[in-house]
């Protein structure tokens, strides 16, 4: 604060300013534009004036830095973190250079400078740099942003070794002897769950993450970026308890918004004229501040109460919406269950498990006491249940005429749960027994859907469909398709992945209109046409869960978990989402599960913390003249408690003139997030091969562009070079091409598996997507024995800490192996974890005692492992094993990871479960990782 006296409106701001650091490090190329925004608001780092800050202050940097990475993604239940040692895990931002073999700079270069501090403030390294003399300026990044600083010379020949990685790969195929396979880049453990720290007052990247933290200033620059310019949006992502989004209530005066573009008040709005006006960050309009919101400004031009008001100091805020944001009173949470009770559903035990799970969740359904619930079951007939609270037993009405369904008793089909609790419980108890002997094989899903939508038409809500067979009666009946191999590679191929009958699209549109969000649970081993059924979820913000060949003993646990999570997680009802971008930038395409209500308004009848979206941006003007680009995501929703709220995430990103900065600031997680959605969407109207090619071309173009920028200058002709930030791009693109929705052709996956995985990928958040693409592979036997050896230490600490790991003590994860079949030692046991399930692979010559200890004695010699439930045995080894599984599951709470067991050499299953995950091996028509790199290198070298 000592220098605050010389901080004028236009001079460089406070010393603790991350922005200032940039300004000094990156000297300008152009004088500041005339409408250069006063830099006052940058001088508001959360760290600078703690005494004025009664709001939950941002945790001190030290804490942020040392939080276990897993907690960045998922909120662990309170007791666990309190037990866990605070410094047990590696810092989330391990130094950029983590890979052996890739670290050394090319021999012709001077040694690299020390690893750069995370780009935006908040880390200890950053603070250190603040105190030290500034490092020599590198290239002209952020040209045009910074005011000229005296005494900073033009950049001398600067070492670029820190800007990209290079691999020496000879361009002749198959002769890549000089690069070790181990040297290829791989994601470090836990990197999926780790987010960068938010910059300035931006929202946390778990909510809104751009593919590059540098927006190009012109069309020509954007065209040279080649990768998608967009973002992954996860508006309701789960945050750890100390980072909950603050709630702001403006009372009756209404939320302060820009008059023209309707942007919500945010930390980047600049107050002027003693606080009487504010300038909207998005559209630059000068707005009046409402009388009761006026506050005096301090000498830097920021409001004196900025730190007391979350909406002026934090990027993510929940506004309480007053009456004018409602078209009707906030709806109560509504859950409606549409259950197929045909013979397949009864025999496989789905009905029993579903009824039990629903019953156990009745207490935990959000929104008590307003929650409403209803049931409808169907086979060739529809069964309605009157759940009137005055009854003791539910009344069942069977409607045999499915061609033109009507509601036999319109009133009591959807009831208040707290009033009719006993009747609902009685129904759930008796449901399995009513249909225990049902031999009906037909399934009238279409008519049941029509009846359901008319029951729910008044309020809307969440509709859960449990479908066990192909719909065969009434409207919306579906045919068997996708069985002929010759359809693949023809123009008729993409039709397999979209709804066959237009009924489903129309029904989805109707549901969206009536505020019904549909979640589809499909179970059949045979073809169920998930592509058509999933359409219902696709346009209503829902999800598709697919359990092929459901078997109650094995899959029951997973269904129970998934269903109870679906019923109990925080859900936003009757929501709409809109994205506002700064001047000159426009959203172009959205991807995910929603329906567009108007050109930029996403209708989401029910959205929850497990749904992510992506958006692509386009530049409107030819040249962006401002220094920062602003983005604001606003989700207007009704919370389960019946309050109308608006969740607003705001982010600001520098606009740059330099392509190298764009690549440097690229964010691999978001790039992969957008690319995979693009590829899945492409596969819906094009051949699989073209969808894969589409992503491939984008990647090669980007790498070629990058090479052209540096290779000639630095005589790296024979090398493949890639930006540090995108070093994993080839691996993830390879993994994406081998992933279930895009893999191979007819033989490689059933159409249902493909569709279900595709629907899932469209809604996945960045951490779960990266985990799915590159699963973790753990050698189990060695790891468990290692853990056993420190049993005493564990007992002392009364908690389970995985003390042994790849990087010395204190690492809480077992070492991860590269995903190649070569590491699968027949003497060992291995676990892969892709966020969806665990696959336990048992080697041929693994000690039988180990198998017996983990899976129970009767399993050790049994040959059929298909239906072996993995349950905890009464011994230490098994307990450790399950503790490991529990820990891995906790990182990934959105779906239950079922553990399946596979023995080496088991025909078919091994290939399907294990080898399909080995993305670094040859498979599905794609080369191994090494060959892939050679191939990319060759393509990058080619002149277009």
């Amino acid at each position: 604060m000592s220098r605050s006296s010389d901080v004028g409106a236009r001079s460089p701001p406070l010393p603790f300013n991350p922005y200032q650091q940039q300004q000094q490090r990156y000297p300008p190329m152009a004088p500041p534009a005339a409408d250069f925004p006063p830099p006052q608001f940058f001088a508001r780092p959360p760290l600078s004036n703690p005494p004025l800050d009664p709001t939950p202050p941002p945790p001190p940097p030290q804490q942020l830095y040392s939080r276990p990475p897993s907690s960045m993604l998922s909120t662990p239940p309170p007791p666990i973190p309190s037990k866990a040692p605070p410094f047990a895990s590696p810092p989330p931002f391990a130094a950029p250079h983590q890979f052996q073999g890739l670290q050394g700079p090319p021999p012709s270069h001077p040694p690299p400078p020390p690893p750069q501090a995370p780009y935006f403030g908040g880390s200890p390294a950053y603070q250190q740099q603040q105190q030290q003399p500034l490092p020599p300026p590198s290239q002209g990044y952020f040209a045009g942003i910074a005011p000229p600083l005296p005494g900073v010379a033009a950049p001398p020949g600067h070492d670029i070794a820190d800007e990209f990685e290079s691999l020496s790969i000879s361009s002749a195929p198959g002769t890549a002897a000089d690069v070790k396979v181990e040297a290829l880049p791989r994601p470090p453990p836990d990197s999926c769950d780790t987010f960068a720290q938010p910059a300035w007052s931006n929202c946390h990247p778990r909510y809104f993450e751009l593919t590059t933290n540098a927006i190009p200033a012109s069309h020509s620059l954007a065209a040279r970026w080649h990768l998608p310019l967009g973002a992954v949006i996860h508006p309701l992502a789960e945050a750890p308890p100390e980072e909950q989004v603050p709630v702001v209530d403006f009372g009756t005066s209404g939320i302060v918004r820009c008059r023209r573009c309707r942007t919500y008040i945010n930390p980047y709005d600049k107050f002027t004229d003693g606080g009487k006006y504010f300038r909207c960050a998005i559209c630059n309009l000068l707005n009046d501040v409402p009388m009761d919101y006026v506050c005096a400004l301090d000498e830097q031009g920021k409001r004196r109460d900025a730190m007391d008001r979350p909406e002026l100091s934090q990027g993510s805020v929940d506004f309480v919406a007053p009456m004018e944001y409602m078209v009707r009173p906030p709806m109560p949470p509504v859950y409606f269950f549409l259950i197929d009770v045909s013979v397949a559903a009864v025999r496989s035990g789905i009905l029993q498990i579903a009824a039990d799970t629903i019953k156990s969740c009745l207490d935990k359904l959000p929104g008590y006491p307003r929650t409403q619930i209803g049931f409808l079951t169907f086979d060739s007939t529809l069964h309605f249940y009157s759940l009137k609270s005055s009854l003791t037993q539910p009344q069942m009405v069977v409607l045999a005429q499915v061609d033109d369904p009507f509601l036999p008793m319109p009133d009591d089909l959807l009831v208040n749960l707290s009033e009719s609790r006993l009747v609902v419980e009685a129904l759930l108890d008796s449901l399995p027994s009513i249909f225990a002997n049902n031999e009906n094989v037909e399934s009238a899903l279409g008519p049941a859907l029509e009846a359901t939508t008319s029951i729910m038409s008044e309020i809307g809500g969440k509709l859960l469909i449990f479908q066990s067979t192909l719909p065969s009666l009434g409207v919306g009946r579906l045919k068997l398709r996708g069985q002929e191999a010759h359809v693949y590679q023809t123009d008729r191929e993409p039709a397999l992945r979209v709804a066959e009958d237009s009924f489903y699209k129309q029904m989805a549109a109707k549901c969206s209109k009536l505020q019904i969000g549909v979640n589809v649970y499909a179970f059949s081993e045979k073809y169920t046409d998930v592509a058509s059924l999933g359409t219902l979820a696709k346009y209503t913000g829902g999800q598709v869960c697919y359990y092929p060949g459901f078997h109650a003993a094995v899959d029951g646990e997973k269904l129970t978990y998934d269903l109870s999570r679906d019923l109990t997680r925080e859900t936003a009802w009757e929501a709409v989402m809109r994205i506002r971008c700064g001047k000159g930038i426009k959203y172009s395409v959205f991807h995910g599960h929603f329906m567009l209500r108007s050109s930029d308004l996403l209708a989401l009848p029910a959205v929850d913390c497990d749904k992510a979206f992506s958006v692509q941006f386009a530049l409107e003007d030819t040249l962006l003249t401002s220094q920062l680009a602003y983005f604001q995501v606003a989700l207007l929703y009704t919370s389960s408690s019946g309050e109308r709220r608006i969740r607003v995430h705001t982010a600001a990103v520098p606009i740059v003139q330099e392509l190298s900065v764009m690549y440097k600031e690229a964010n691999i997680g978001a790039v992969v997030g957008v690319l995979s959605r693009l590829a899945v969407e492409k596969s819906l109207n094009d051949k699989l091969e073209n969808a894969r090619q589409y992503v491939h071309v984008k990647m090669v173009n980007a790498l070629r562009e990058y090479k052209n920028m540096y290779a000639v200058k630095h005589s790296l002709i024979g090398r493949i070079i890639f930006p540090e930030s995108l070093k994993l791009l080839p691996l993830y693109v390879l993994a994406l091409s081998k992933s279930l929705p895009l893999r191979g052709g007819f033989m490689d996956a059933t159409p249902d598996e493909r569709s279900a995985a595709g629907y899932q990928m469209m809604t996945m958040s960045r951490p779960s997507l990266l985990k799915l693409l590159y699963p973790a592979l753990i050698r189990l036997d060695e790891y468990l024995l290692q853990v056993m050896s420190c049993v005493d230490w564990i007992a002392k600490n009364e908690t389970i800490v995985y003390a042994q790991g790849s990087r010395g003590g204190g690492v809480d994860s077992p070492p991860q192996l590269p995903l190649t079949a070569e590491v699968l030692d027949p003497r060992g046991a291995f676990v892969t974890s892709d966020g969806q399930r665990f696959v336990l692979w048992l080697g041929n010559v693994l000690q039988p005692e180990f198998v017996a200890a983990i899976l129970g004695p009767q399993v050790a010699h049994s040959s059929d492992l298909r239906k072996v439930p993995v349950v905890e045995q009464d011994n230490d080894l098994s307990k450790r094993f399950h503790a490991l599984l529990a820990k891995l599951r906790k990182q990934n709470r959105w779906c239950h990871q079922q553990c399946v067991v596979v023995r080496q050499g088991e025909s078919g299953r091994e290939l399907q479960l294990v080898h399909s995950n080995m993305v670094e091996d040859r498979g599905a028509g794609f080369p191994s990782y090494m060959e892939w790199m050679v191939q990319i290198h060759r393509q990058v070298q080619q002149k277009i």
Binding site: S502, Q506, A509, Y539, V589, M595, R597, S598
Partner: protein, 147 residues
């Protein structure tokens, strides 16, 4: 030649109706684009008139074929083929769920149709005038012959 005149009058009405439908659909699409109506209304309004337009165009082509107006039929044939193909592949209706992604192509195709119907209208008016002149002249000659 009275049937000739009747036929051209009929085609004039038909083309004018088709033109009206196309303009209406374009209005619906641009209303949607500027957020004046919601996608549900917009698509149902557009879809209501898709088949009538196809029918008008089909009937017109059939009449030209039957009465031997080869040139007029050839003029109509490409659009007829396009419409039939669209109908057979069940892509003739606007998809309410994807209407925003289809907005540009749908508008484009309707602009082409608009241009086509406008030029057709010009031809039809010309032929209408010619044939009505013929009828008038013929009746004039006939009445002169009576004198």
């Amino acid at each position: 030649m009275a049937w000739d005149l009747a036929l051209w009058i009929l085609s004039f009405l038909a083309v004018a109706a088709a033109l009206g439908i196309i303009v209406y659909q374009l209005l619906c699409l641009s209303d949607l684009e500027f957020d004046f109506i919601n996608p549900f209304d917009s698509s149902s309004r557009i879809n209501r008139f898709v088949l009538p337009e196809f029918a008008i165009q089909g009937v017109l082509s059939a009449i030209y074929l039957i009465f031997g107006y080869w040139l007029m039929f050839l003029l109509n044939a490409p659009l007829l083929y396009y419409n039939i193909r669209l109908y057979m592949s069940k892509r003739h209706l606007v998809d309410v769920t994807e209407i925003f992604n289809q907005l540009e192509p749908e508008k484009k195709i309707r602009f082409y149709k608009l241009g086509f119907y406008l030029s057709l209208l010009c031809i039809v008016i010309y032929r209408l005038v010619v044939s009505s002149m013929e009828v008038i002249l013929e009746s004039g000659i006939a009445s002169m012959a009576e004198i």
